[in-house]
């Protein structure tokens, strides 16, 4: 009996791994697509926040005072002092994007500033900064110098400081921060990728075989319907897992690049137990998905019909996945872990945000496994039912 199941699994796997097109669409493509999309999103995001790190701003100055020039040492910029007569030329250079910034200070800026009394009502000494918003580097140079000048201005009348010194004031640990990021995105992605992986293989292997009449050939052999169902489900789960892993690998490989944009957080904080729990949840979820999709596709007459009928299920899975994105932390009410699909999402959120407990994970895995077994019985009954297997 075990032997028969193995024979069927082997044939199903041979079918899958021998088919280059299927391998490409179900295994290679999802992972690659995700990697490309996320890497692209990541580099676009980081492009918004920082420009080329080797870049040095070109800034021309008129009457740059001593007080300011001592502060500009940290800026990645080359300062060129020019005469008042060259101001017009410099403005043209900025418009033509050949120069990033022109800073015009009044003569004797330091003396004027020292003499100025804000209470007097006289106009304060004026600094003019010319820049060009259509050039990113120009805008950034403008922001940098404005900040520097404002800081200098407030330092002249220092009444109090906020968060001065080297103390780490943000008390969030790196673990929490990376946990938050992961737990908010990954469960949804995982659910969607796993479900699509299951769909790609299960529709073809059940509805497809029914449509092509090849399952009937199996049905006249002495093989028990239950063995056939078991062999199919296990083989499909293996393939779906491989397909899912490709998606997950794509995500994990691209996430560091994706996150470097939002502050470069290392991801190596998950330990063996976290990974083991995640694997158990993923495995049981895949098994459940495969069994559910198999039932839908066993009921359908054609692959097309099966695709249509599986859509509502897919939408539900996606929506439930999305709830994981906004819940922040995992549910702490035991009852939630008895709800299929939702329990998988909550368990993933829990594991990824370092809040998982063995009880919740066990309940989730157990519920998924029991439901898969129940689906297996339903499927066996369906394989035995001529009205379902030979509906034309």
């Amino acid at each position: 009996m075990k032997n028969i199941v193995m024979i069927i699994i082997k044939k199903e796997l041979a079918r899958f791994f021998g088919d280059k097109r299927l391998m490409l669409t179900a295994v290679l493509l999802p992972g690659m697509m995700i990697y490309l999309i996320y890497s692209f999103m990541g580099s676009t995001l980081s492009g918004l926040f920082k420009s080329d790190s080797d870049y040095r701003y070109t800034i021309s100055t008129v009457n740059l005072p001593k007080s300011i020039s001592t502060l500009t040492g940290d800026m990645a910029a080359d300062f060129t002092a020019i005469d008042v007569g060259k101001i017009a030329d410099a403005k043209i250079a900025i418009a033509e994007k050949k120069l990033d910034l022109l800073a015009v200070f009044p003569e004797n800026f330091d003396v004027q500033v020292a003499a100025h009394n804000p209470a007097s009502g006289e106009t304060a000494p004026h600094v003019a900064l010319y820049y060009n918003t259509t050039r990113t580097e120009s805008s950034k140079a403008y922001n940098l110098l404005t900040t520097l000048l404002n800081t200098y201005e407030s330092s002249l009348a220092n009444k109090f400081d906020v968060n001065a010194g080297e103390d780490p004031f943000n008390l969030a640990t790196k673990k929490d921060a990376s946990g938050l990021l992961f737990s908010s995105m990954l469960p949804m992605l995982l659910m969607i990728f796993l479900f699509s992986g299951c769909m790609a293989v299960a529709l073809e292997a059940i509805a497809g075989e029914k449509e092509r009449g090849t399952i009937a050939t199996m049905l006249i052999t002495p093989v028990k319907r239950s063995e056939l169902v078991m062999g199919k489900i296990i083989a499909l789960a293996i393939v779906a897992l491989i397909s899912g892993s490709s998606s997950i690998l794509g995500t994990l490989l691209s996430l560091p690049r994706f996150m470097s944009a939002t502050k470069g957080m290392p991801t190596a904080f998950y330990g063996f137990v976290d990974y083991a729990m995640l694997a158990a949840v993923v495995l049981s979820t895949v098994l459940l998905f495969i069994s559910m999709i198999s039932i839908v596709s066993a009921y359908a007459k054609t692959v097309k019909e099966a695709q249509t009928s599986v859509m509502p299920l897919m939408i539900v899975v996606m929506l439930v996945g999305v709830t994981g994105m906004f819940s922040g932390t995992a549910q702490t009410e035991t009852l939630y872990y008895f709800i299929p699909v939702y329990n998988s999402v909550q368990s993933m959120v829990g594991i990824l945000s370092f809040n998982a407990t063995a009880t919740y994970i066990s309940i989730t895995v157990l519920v998924n496994l029991l439901l898969s077994v129940a689906c297996g019985f339903v499927l066996t009954w369906m394989f035995n039912n001529e009205k379902i297997m030979f509906n034309k």
């Binding site: 028969i4 024979i7 069927i8 044939k11 041979a14 079918r15 021998g18 088919d19 075989e209 092509r212 009449g213 090849t214 009937a216 050939t217 199996m218 049905l219 006249i220 052999t221 002495p222 093989v223 028990k224 001529e386 030979f390 034309k392």
Partner: protein, 258 residues
């Protein structure tokens, strides 16, 4: 002689969906495909089920092969009951009908081995039988060609070979020569005769008179799901051609002159 197939009072009706009703241009919701059908087949003979389109031949054979269940009545094949012991029946018979397809992705060789292993046949016996069957049907040159790339005739011959992987004592063929050219058809009918010589029991369905006259020992004429006549080929013919006798029986049963 021993009755190896016993069919007693078999009934099967199908409920039509609205869509099917439209397709069949019929207002009746229920089709009685097989009505109170009884016959026996003796060990070592070729029995032909002869009947016009829609007579219920395929439905009968599918019930005997345990693909579908009879509404009532029973059928016993080599001592196993189709309703209560379908899994045993499946070990005793080889069944071939056009609705059973082979997975196009695989080669004849792979599928032969796969089905042999499902029947629990040891590799040595399997290879020996495979050599014989592939030789007989000229499959050897195509053994490693995917089913998808085979001609209709070659596909049918591969199906035939695969239906015999377990060397069954009873062979049930629905329209064995349908879609085959005369040469391929002859290979198949000759093989059926050879199988009979080995002591196998063969039940075929057809609407081709010449096939029945060529290979069958006994024949059952099935019209509208019921047995209109059943007996030795010569007794049924009664000195006339089978065709003439068939039309006579047909008009008597249907109450129309053909």
């Amino acid at each position: 002689m021993k009755d190896i197939i016993r069919v007693i009072g078999l009934n099967k009706s199908f409920t039509l969906s609205t869509k099917q009703q439209k397709l069949a241009k019929s207002r009746e919701k229920v089709i009685h495909a097989v009505t109170d059908l009884s016959f026996t087949v003796e060990q070592g003979e070729i029995f032909g089920l002869l009947g016009p389109n829609g007579a219920g031949k395929t439905t009968t054979l599918r019930m005997l092969a345990t693909l579908i269940k009879p509404d009532s009545g029973e059928a016993v094949l080599a001592g196993a009951n189709v309703v209560s012991q379908p899994e045993i029946v499946r070990t005793k018979i080889g069944f071939l009908t056009s609705e059973l397809k082979l997975e196009e992705f695989f080669t004849p060789n792979y599928l032969y081995n796969f089905f042999a292993s499902l029947h629990g046949i040891n590799p040595k016996l399997r290879d020996q039988r495979k050599r014989d069957l592939f030789e007989k049907f000229g499959i050897n040159n195509f053994a490693e060609v995917k089913i998808a790339n085979l001609s209709t005739g070659m596909k049918q011959k591969v199906s035939l070979a695969i239906s015999l992987v377990h060397d069954p004592g009873i062979i049930i063929f629905d329209e064995p020569t349908n879609g085959l050219d005369v040469i391929t058809a002859k290979v198949v009918t000759d093989y059926l005769i050879a199988l009979r010589a080995q002591g196998k029991t063969i039940l075929v369905s057809t609407h081709i008179f010449s096939l029945v006259e060529k290979i069958c020992d006994r024949v059952g004429i099935i019209i509208k799901g019921s047995m209109a006549a059943c007996g030795k080929l010569d007794d049924i013919r009664g000195g006339k051609t089978l065709e003439d006798r068939f039309f006579k029986i047909y008009s008597e049963t249907m109450g129309v002159v053909v």
